[in-house]
């Protein structure tokens, strides 16, 4: 994907293309369903489970199992497609390349922590994917593999019992359960913070359905990527550029108020629609 394409119009910077948004949609929708139907099994007496059971009726338990399996299939199919996407499509290849952890991420993490605890006044500048997002991505990959694997064992319990025995089943159950908790908490604490609570994105980072970030958001979260996109060359952001940008006063006060921003956004939206 060329930088031309990514820089759609002046103030919009493509964050997720349509294909990726569909993947993300499939991922998070199946994820939510899996969480509800999964914890619905584990905590059958909790109030929200009771509500759901009340609404669905006497076959809620059976429905829960079926829906959980459907969602898991959706997630696994989406994951497999994602695998295909990152291997065989140019934008996918670029994506996985950008997601790969590099040494710079360790440095960014260190600087970021120093900045956050107040030891440093400089906020490290992030590229297309910061260490936050990389952690997130690989956590999802890890989680999907673990959950998919153990889930399959539990799904076809009569087959797998023969190979792993009751102990194996218990191990699979334990992993599936704890991994679920870990994944849910990670999404809740890590992902949701950056998407919703984060003052720069608040109330929500709309990239997941609009596909683009505003200049302001880019400036805040991905200044290097912004710089790269706005740069003339199509090459990746070099360290020099990164340094250059790092030196620049990024966190200068904003000239626009919130209201103005909203107005601007609305205008952009209408423009987008017209187009």
């Amino acid at each position: 994907m060329s930088s031309e394409e990514r820089k759609l119009i002046d103030e919009k910077f493509l964050r997720m293309n349509f294909n990726e948004r569909i993947q993300h949609f499939l991922l998070f929708s199946s994820f939510i369903v899996l969480i509800l139907t999964g914890f619905g099994l584990k905590f059958p007496e909790s109030f929200w489970v009771k509500w759901i059971v009340f609404i669905i009726g006497e076959n809620a338990f059976e429905a829960r199992g079926i829906v959980h399996r459907i969602a898991s299939v959706v997630m696994i199919v989406a994951s497999l497609y994602h695998l295909y996407y990152v291997i065989f499509t140019p934008s996918g290849r670029q994506l996985i390349r950008d997601f790969f952890p590099v040494k710079q991420d360790v440095a960014d993490f260190r600087d970021s922590m120093l900045y956050l605890v107040g030891k440093s006044e400089e906020k490290p500048l992030m590229g297309r994917f910061s260490y936050v997002e990389k952690m997130e991505y690989w956590a999802v990959v890890w989680g999907t593999v673990i959950m998919g694997g153990t889930g399959t064992v539990l799904w076809f319990e009569n087959t797998f019992l023969k190979y792993v025995g009751t102990m194996g089943m218990d191990v699979a159950t334990a992993i599936h359960y704890y991994e679920a908790i870990l994944a849910s908490l990670a999404i809740l604490v890590w992902h949701f913070y950056f998407i919703f609570l984060n003052p720069d994105s608040f109330p929500m980072n709309k990239a997941w359905y609009k596909g683009y970030l505003t200049r302001e958001e880019m400036e805040h979260e991905h200044p290097l990527e912004l710089k790269r996109l706005e740069g003339t060359d199509e090459t990746e952001v070099t360290e020099e550029i990164a340094e250059e940008i790092t030196e620049a006063p990024v966190d200068k006060p904003l000239d626009v108020t919130e209201e103005q921003l909203d107005k601007k956004e609305n205008e952009e939206e209408t423009k987008g629609k017209k187009e």
């Binding site: 007496e45 009569n158 025995g165 009751t166 990670a186 950056f194 609570l197 720069d200």
Partner: protein, 637 residues
Amino acid sequence: MNTHGKHIIFIFSTVMLISALLIIADSYSRISGGSTDVCLSCHEDKDLTMEKNGKKISLFVDPQSHKNSVHSAAECEDCHENYNPDEVPHTKTPQQVKCANCHEGSKPLETNVHAKVSCYDCHTKHDVRSAKEFAKDQTKNCLSCHKNQNISHYSESVHAKNKIGCEGCHGSGHKVKSITKKEVSALCGKCHGEHEKDFKNSIHMATLKRGDVNAPTCTDCHGSHKIIRGKISVESQACLKCHLDEKKFPGEEKGSASFVTHYRTSIHASIDSQGLLEAAGCVDCHGDHMIENRDNPKASTNRARMIETCGKCHKDVVESFKKSKHGQELEKKNVAAPTCTDCHGEHDITSTLISNDFTKLNLTDKCLSCHKDGKIPHKNFKGEEELITGYQNSVHYLALKDGKFEAPTCYQCHGAHEMESADNPASKISKNNIAKTCGQSNCHTSQLNQYTGSIHEVGVSKGNQDAPACNNCHGNHGIVTKNIDNKSQKSKDIVKLCSNCHTSVELVERNDLPTNMGESYLESFHGLATRGGSKEAANCESCHSYHNVRPSTDSLSTINRKNLPETCGKCHPGATEVLFTKKIHLNNPEEDSPGVFWITRFYMFMIFGLIGFMIFHNILDLRRKLQLRKQNAGMKK
């Protein structure tokens, strides 16, 4: 003169004197004896009659009987005064014979019953005998006048057979009297002292003393003259004669005629009508002479004495009743304790086989009439009443209602007369016996077979009060096939049921039961699914079976290693090859399943470490960004 002449003179004169004397004597005799003979010369004719006021009167006098009578010496005119034998009729003014003319010193009549009766009415006219001899035939004499139906039946009476004559009651000779109602009992009591003593204490006597004319005395039941031994006649003619009279006993209450009428439809009466003398009549229950009000503690129909009364005939039944809880409480004078009549009825007593009240369905009502509404305080359980009334929702009762008459009602489990509280080891429903009771033939025999030998049964038979018998799982009265169609709820119920004991810390410790059973199940997939409402997930009984619960070391146990493939295979086809690598209930994960243990540790570290870090990181991030915003806002100003 010579001596010869003197002798002749003497002999002659002597002969003359004797002749003279004989003549005198003869003439004297001709005057007296002669008159009777004269009379009899006519009156010995049997056909001699006269007419008086148009009536033919026999004038026959049997000369022989007169000769034999005490009056044989008397001449006719000694009694029949002023009779001239030469005239016919002998007198124009016939006068009554006045015995008193001669019998001046004899006892007068002491009573006026026979005031209008002449002496000769009793003593007869011409064949009058001595008093001693006369007394022998007094009864016959009496009956010759007293010919009415009632008195004439005397000859059939037990008194007649035992030669107790009229004088026995009415007095003899001149003391004959009529007997008033008030005197009767005392009079009879002279001979029947025991009975009279009883009668004196009876309600009949008490009523009599109050002056109630309806109150009976001896004769009212036994009859006055036709007194016959045997109760049938007494009952049919005596008791019911009064007690069925609605005028004498009005109303509907106990003691009323309508109440007594029920006797006629009772089993006792119907057997009676078939001629069986063993059947109970009035006196068999109420007593004969000492009939008392039932409130009187001495009365045979008093509640306290009822079992004794019925026990006269129903010996075996009463013996077992005495040992029962009901019987014991009755003995303790517990007013709430039932006696025979409380269940079987009083006059309306009917065979339990045919009575509507004793059909299995109605019997419940009978038992519940006391065991309901808190009438009987229960010491054993709170809410036992609900347990009992719960019978009406039980499968047993519903089956009965559906016409399955083999289904049990109260007595089949509790026993009828031998009803006992569960505390009593001899009781049919004591912990030791309840399985036998439920498993009695035609009932739950196969279940009993399964239960026998199970660890629960072994515990019970060893006297362990914690071990469950049938009722501990199935309930007592309200045995229901609860949620039988709602499999998920049924599953939950079973888990809850087993948990009652197997998750009780106290009980588990006391009996050295495996710990953590409930919790480990509830956290397993089976448990979670059951909790979540699965219809097919395994509950306790799916693996452990229900009646035949045995420890895994028992080769007959469904959870014996050998049998596990079959047990698990019910749900997990192909489970024959399943590797049972560990305990199913994990008591100690570190030992029983190290894999799970270490995974748990790892994830705990990850969750607390990683998520903790994320929270920490994000809080700092938020703080920094908000700080920045504040700064920017300040600079803008």
